[in-house]
Structure formats: C-alpha cells, structure tokens
C-alpha cells in the first residue's frame, strides 16, 4: 500500500496491529523481543498490559477474546518466554479462541545453533496452533501478520503464532504496509442440507437442540429457532449463555456434570441437532450409547468435526448463525407438547437437587445468584468450575469464560483480568479453587499495576484439589494421594493485601451473605475467600466411560456404591 521511510521491522509490526484495530496487547519483555518493546514507545495508542508471567499474558488475551469475540494478542520473548505460552496456545486451540501470539527469536544467523534463549517455538507449537510462521524477511512482516490475523479469526477460530528473529525486528523495513483483510464473513449452509435437517426435524417426536461454544456469536438466531420449533435446548460447557437460562426450554448443561434433565433428554431424544460443538467425550459419555435413540443433525463450520466422534445422519457445514436462521426460515415449525411436558418433570427434579447444605455448592450458588446479566463470570478448573457451570444462569452470550477443552488450571484469574480490561463497565467475577488460583496468583500484581477496579476474585477454599479428590473417593477407594493443600495454603487475604487488594472471608452459611455484599460493594477489585468443608463432591456425575443415562444423581447415591 505505502512505502514507509525510517521504519524498522518492529515498527512495521505495530503499524500492522494498529491498522487491524488492535489497541490492547498482553505481554512480557525479554532480550529477543526488545526491539518490539522499543518500537512500542512510538505507538502510544496501543495499550500494553505487563503480566507477571507469559502464561498470565496469554490467558488474559484469551479472556479478552472470549468476552469480546475479537482477537486477543500476546507477546513474549524467545526461549523460556515463548515456551511459557504453550499452555495458553493449546487452550486456545481446544476452545477455538482467536488469538495472535508474537514471539521474539534469536537473530537469523543464530537460529539452529542452540543460542542463548533459543527454542524452536514453531516446531514446539506446530500441533497446538492453527498455523505458525517464522518471519525470515522484515519486508514480509505486515503481510504475514495480516494473514495470521485472518487465519486466527476466519472459519473455526484459533491461535496463530508469529515468531520474529531479533535482527528482523531491527532491520530496516522496505516492504509494503498492507491493509487488513476483509471480514471473512459467514459461511452459509447448503440449502439441500438445511432441507434434509428440516425434514428430519419434522418427523421428530422428541427433538433436542444441543448448543456449543461455536454458537456464542449466534445466540439470537439459535434462540429464535429453538423457540419457533419449541425444541428443548441444552447448552454445553462452552455454549452456556448462547441460549437464555430463563427460557422454559432450557435444560441446562449436558455431560459428565450435566443436569438430569439435559442428560435424560439426550438419552431419550429421537432427533438431536448439535450446533457449533464437537461432541467432546465429557459431553457424550460412552459414545456408543450417546443419544442412542436419536438421529443426529450436526451443524459445524469445521468439516473435520462432522462425523468425527458420533455418527451423523445430516451434516450441515455452516456457521451457527446462518444455519439457525436458515432452519428458522425453511419450514413451518412443528411442536410436540407431550415431550415438552416430560422435559419439565425432569427439570423440576433438577431444581430440587440444588445445593442448600453448607459446602462448595451452596457457596458457589450464593455467589452466582448475585450476578447481573451483563456481569462476566470466569472460572478456573475443577469442582468450583462444574458447580458454577451447573448453577449460574446466563441470559447472554460471552458472559461465561472457562477453559473447556484443555481444562487449564490457572486459566481463570488472568482470563478474568483480560475480560475486565475488555469491558471495564461490567464486573468481572472469577471463581477459583485454592489450587488453581495459586498457579497464576502472581497476576494480582497486574490488577494493582493498572488499577483495574472491576475484578472480583472468589476463592472456594476446600484445602484440596477437590476434583481429583472426588475421583480418588469414587474410583481409588479414598486414597487421597497428594491432593491436600490445607497445611500449606497461604493466607489468601494477606496475599491479596500484599498487592494492595482488599480481602474478605466467610466460613459459614451465616456469614457468607454479608461477606458477599461487602466484597461486591467494595470500590475496586477485591478478593473473597470462602472456606468450605473439605469433603464435598459435584453431582450429578457421569463416571468416565459410562453412558449419560448411567449418571450418579446425588452424593448419597455415590456413597451407596454408585461408583464403578
């Protein structure tokens, strides 16, 4: 487009990012990325958030991306800086998060010599990125970065890594600054596939709509479709919020810790239509018995997902919004009152099972009940995550941020910071366990450094790696091997206080409501530690390898030998 005098490769990088509307990046400097950080001083409109660990930076970028649907950007130096991004890249790959990772590398003539802080990051990240690049020529930088952004955003989104040798960052730039690629747009479904889906739906007596994370951008179209056809709807862990929880058609989350209603409905369905999901094993249970009475319609953007896990009668390759709209317009809806009545009975049973006795469940319930529709809820990984997924009621998409596919402990807190920066006007609540929080607790410094006011941290402290302990209880005869943290956990309030963050604590049903009030009312970010009884499981639960209809519904049932 234009030739630019007096420009380095590093400046060309920032110029290209700015041209793509990127105004916030997360990162951590180091020797091999210094020219990029030096050039940043010429771009005051770009906000750089300095994390305390590259893993914190990339999870924050993921949180940003999940809250906004826009691309998240993170920067790291070579070698150990780059390898610290690996977990975040794998996480973003599994959850289809649009992400651009920029890494420095040693100078071109040193690559391959085992130079100081050299790592073959493109080799390392090859299976966990959608694509990656080493920039060999500074003049190629804008073209490669623009292409990387397009790849990250288009089709099924994912992470792309661009590795830039230090001398390429420093070199004089003599290439062309390229304009951003046009919006890739939606992929419309094949009308014949839509017709086949509608024909099948019209024969259904017991249809179920299953909505995944790929539908987070299609909530309006999905909701309109489900309501017109009166199809009971389940939202997967990644799909929570893509269908309003207040709608009577919503049955909750399916799968390992799904609701009774969702799993019963899937087990009894005669037609199951899955939109924007990949039939993860945590959702299907034993695959051969998954939706065993149902013909399956699978709508997905990624052709490789269709037929990968479950047999599919009708495949519709399209983005979720286009497909749902096409389905809504294709035919007169067909309703089935007996089925919806049956569903309501199961749903009522779920509501009775809502935890009331003091424990992690009732604590999580009281916290999530206080969320407003615009608030963002992030979680870490473990029991608290499944409890939050079971108990939170989302009315809107992109309000739920969790590590689904990879199950990354340490994800939640930095992701909540990324979401808080993306949407400073809403409260960004993070529920974490005492184990996971300590994996990225150093990001308390990021809250302090940028005076981020809208992050509310809730630690559900049961002194254990609770989910591992639950499995040991059920499947390893209560041999609690290396899961106790209670003898060495920090004083979380003091830890927060060390960074200048206000802390609150509750340890009973009686003092929790007041503590929640004080925590949420505190002007600025704050931490709430909820000390809960140590032994408490998450139920319902479908044991790994079992079928959805074999679910253990209650803790009592589990202790009566429901374990397998």
């Amino acid at each position: 487009m234009t030739q630019q005098a007096d420009m380095s490769g590093a400046k060309a990088l920032w110029h290209t990012l700015a041209a793509h509307g990127i105004d916030t990046v997360f990162g951590y400097p180091g020797g091999a990325i210094m020219p990029v950080y030096d050039a940043l001083t010429y771009y005051p409109d770009i906000r750089h958030i300095l994390a305390r660990h590259e893993q914190g930076a990339i999870h924050a970028a993921e949180g940003w991306a999940k809250a906004t649907g826009q691309i998240g950007v993170c920067i790291a130096t070579s070698g150990p800086g780059a390898t610290n991004l690996v977990t975040g890249l794998a996480d973003a790959m599994m959850d289809s998060v649009p992400l651009l990772a920029i890494t420095g590398n040693v100078a071109r003539h040193l690559i391959g010599t085992d130079a100081f802080q050299e790592a073959d990051i493109t080799g390392i990240t090859l299976p966990i990125t959608k694509h990656n690049y080493v920039v060999q020529d500074p003049d190629d930088l804008p073209r490669i970065v623009a292409e990387a952004i397009r790849i990250a955003r288009s089709g099924r989104p994912g992470p792309v890594l661009v590795d830039i040798p230090k001398d390429v960052q420093l070199a004089a730039f003599g290439g062309e600054l390229v304009a951003p690629h046009a919006d890739p747009g939606r992929l419309a479904p094949d009308p014949q596939a839509i017709q086949a889906a509608v024909t099948l739906l019209q024969t259904a007596q017991r249809p179920v709509l299953m909505v995944g994370g790929g539908a987070q951008g299609a909530a309006a179209e999905i909701t309109a479709f489900a309501r017109a056809w009166q199809i009971p709807t389940v939202t997967t862990l990644m799909g929570l919020g893509a269908f309003p929880a207040s709608d009577p058609l919503w049955l909750g989350m399916p799968g390992m810790h799904g609701s009774v209603a969702a799993n019963r409905a899937i087990s009894e369905a005669d037609v199951l239509i899955g939109v924007g999901l990949r039939f993860d094993d945590r959702v299907t249970g034993r695959v051969k018995d998954f939706a065993r009475h149902a013909q399956i319609i699978h709508v997905d953007l990624d052709a490789a997902e269709i037929g990968k896990i479950v047999r599919t009668q009708v495949s519709v390759r399209a983005d979720a919004a286009s497909a749902a709209q096409a389905l809504s317009e294709a035919a007169t809806p067909y309703v089935h009152p007996e089925w919806t009545a049956q569903i309501q009975t199961w749903k009522a049973r779920d509501q009775q099972g809502s935890p009331t006795a003091w424990g992690a469940g009732s604590a999580v319930r009281q916290v999530v009940e206080r969320l407003r529709p615009d608030d963002i809820l992030s979680t870490d990984v473990g029991q608290h995550q499944m409890l939050a997924a079971q108990l939170a009621r989302f009315e809107k998409p992109r309000r739920w941020i969790t590590s689904g596919g990879l199950g990354t402990m340490g994800f939640g807190f930095p992701a909540a910071i990324g979401a808080a920066l993306a949407e400073p006007q809403v409260t960004s609540v993070i529920i974490a366990g005492d184990g996971g929080f300590q994996m990225t607790a150093q990001e308390l410094a990021t809250l302090t450094k940028y005076r981020i006011q809208n992050v509310k941290i809730c630690i559900i402290n049961n002194s254990f790696l609770g989910m591992v302990r639950q499995w040991q209880e059920l499947f390893h005869e209560r041999r609690y091997s290396e899961v106790y943290l209670g003898d060495s956990n920090p004083d979380f309030l003091k830890l927060a206080g060390a960074y200048g963050i206000e802390g609150f604590r509750a340890d009973s049903q009686d003092n929790l409501p007041a503590a929640i009030d004080a925590w949420l009312a505190h002007p600025g970010s704050a931490l709430l530690e909820v000390v809960v009884p140590q032994e408490h499981g998450v139920f319902p639960m479908v044991p790994a390898g079992a079928a959805l209809h074999e679910m253990i519904e209650t803790e009592a049932e589990a202790s009566q030998g429901g374990s397998k």
């Binding site: 493109t122 694509h131 080493v134 190629d140 747009g185 490789a304």
Partner: protein, 202 residues
C-alpha cells in the same frame, strides 16, 4: 467408523514452505494414522509441491485424515484417488545376487518385466523397475529366490486420468506465501477481495 483396513491413495498439493512435511507427518503421527508410503516432488507450478500418500486404515479413518489435512493452511488441495480413475507408478531399485549359473536367467526375467540394468557388479545386478504396485511386488518375488541384497522403493505417485488437472483453478487465487509471491508468479497472487473463495480453502 467401521469397515475393512485397506490402502488408500491420496495426493496432496501443498505450498512449498519450510516445515510443511513436518506439519503433515505430525498430523498423521498424532492421530496414529500409519503412512505406508510417501512421495514428494515439485509440481509444474513453482511454489507448489505434490505429495502422494498411501494410508492404511478403514474408510472412516482415511476420511478424517483427509479432512484434517484440508484444514492445514499449507495444504491447498487434497485428492482422494478412489473417487476417480487414476494412474499410479512406483520406482524400484533392487540389487540381485547373481552367480555364473543364474546370471542369464535373472537377465531374462528382468527383460520380461522391462526392468533396466543400472549397475553391474561382480556378484550382483542392480535393476530399475517402474510400474504399479502389483508389478513391483511381482518382480521382487521373482527375484527373491536368487537372493535380494537390497531394495529401495520410492512409494507410489499418482495422477488422475483424463485431461483435467487435479489442481482446481480457484487455487491459483490462494497463496500469499513467499514462494507464490515471486514476480514471475503473478497468476498465483491472492485476490484478497475474494473472501468467499479463500474461505473455502480452510
């Protein structure tokens, strides 16, 4: 995903860039798809290489492998040769032990197979044979009783029969690689405004 294990012949047109072979073999390796043979060579279009794989597995495995291949950014086209008629060849170099008693017979058999002698040693002849898999295997079996010292097979290469090229014309609008960007390759430059076309490649 049921069905019998059998060989499937798949050709892949890829951008000629570093790590492309690694990306593809890593994809096969992680998913435990066994590659029985693999041949790689340049194509008539600078910047594009062509690989021919023989993959062993049931139909479902191979279909999934092809879909995963199509998702790689460096892969511009995947051809399943089972869908159309194709020609395929393999090149074999084989070193056969000979004695004064067997020299003539070995040469006669080789003539029947139209194998060429490419090297003559005191106790061995090295033959070059091209043909489809059956012919190559048959030649090896014929030579085995005389004593095979070593063999090297290239793996199969294949082209679809008929006048149509395997590379559909829309692929020439993809690209944006260093290789495709050279000034002599204007026909391969990307059409950025053609988002739908580009999108189809992912």
């Amino acid at each position: 995903m049921t069905g019998m294990e059998q060989d499937h012949l798949v050709s892949v047109i890829v951008r000629d860039e570093p790590r492309v072979l690694t990306r593809i073999t890593a994809l096969f390796g992680r998913r435990a798809y066994n590659i029985k043979s693999l041949s790689v060579g340049s194509t008539e279009h600078p910047g594009l290489s062509r690989m021919t794989f023989v993959v062993t597995g049931n139909r479902g495995i191979v279909e999934q492998a092809m879909k995963q291949l199509e998702k790689l950014i460096d892969v511009v086209h995947v051809i399943d040769h089972s869908l159309e008629k194709f020609v395929d060849r393999e090149l074999l170099l084989v070193k056969v032990h000979i004695t004064n008693d067997t020299r003539v017979e070995v040469r006669h058999i080789a003539e029947d197979f139209r194998a060429r002698i490419v090297d003559v040693g005191r106790h061995a002849l090295t033959f070059e044979v091209t043909g489809d898999e059956g012919k190559i295997t048959a030649f090896i079996e014929q030579m085995r009783p005389f004593g095979i010292l070593e063999t090297m097979r290239t793996g199969r290469v294949a082209l679809t029969r008929g006048s149509n090229a395997d590379i559909p014309s829309h692929i020439y609008h993809d690209g944006e690689t260093a290789a495709l960007k050279s000034p002599t390759q204007t026909a391969l430059l990307p059409r950025e405004q053609d988002a739908q076309t580009v999108e189809n490649l992912f």
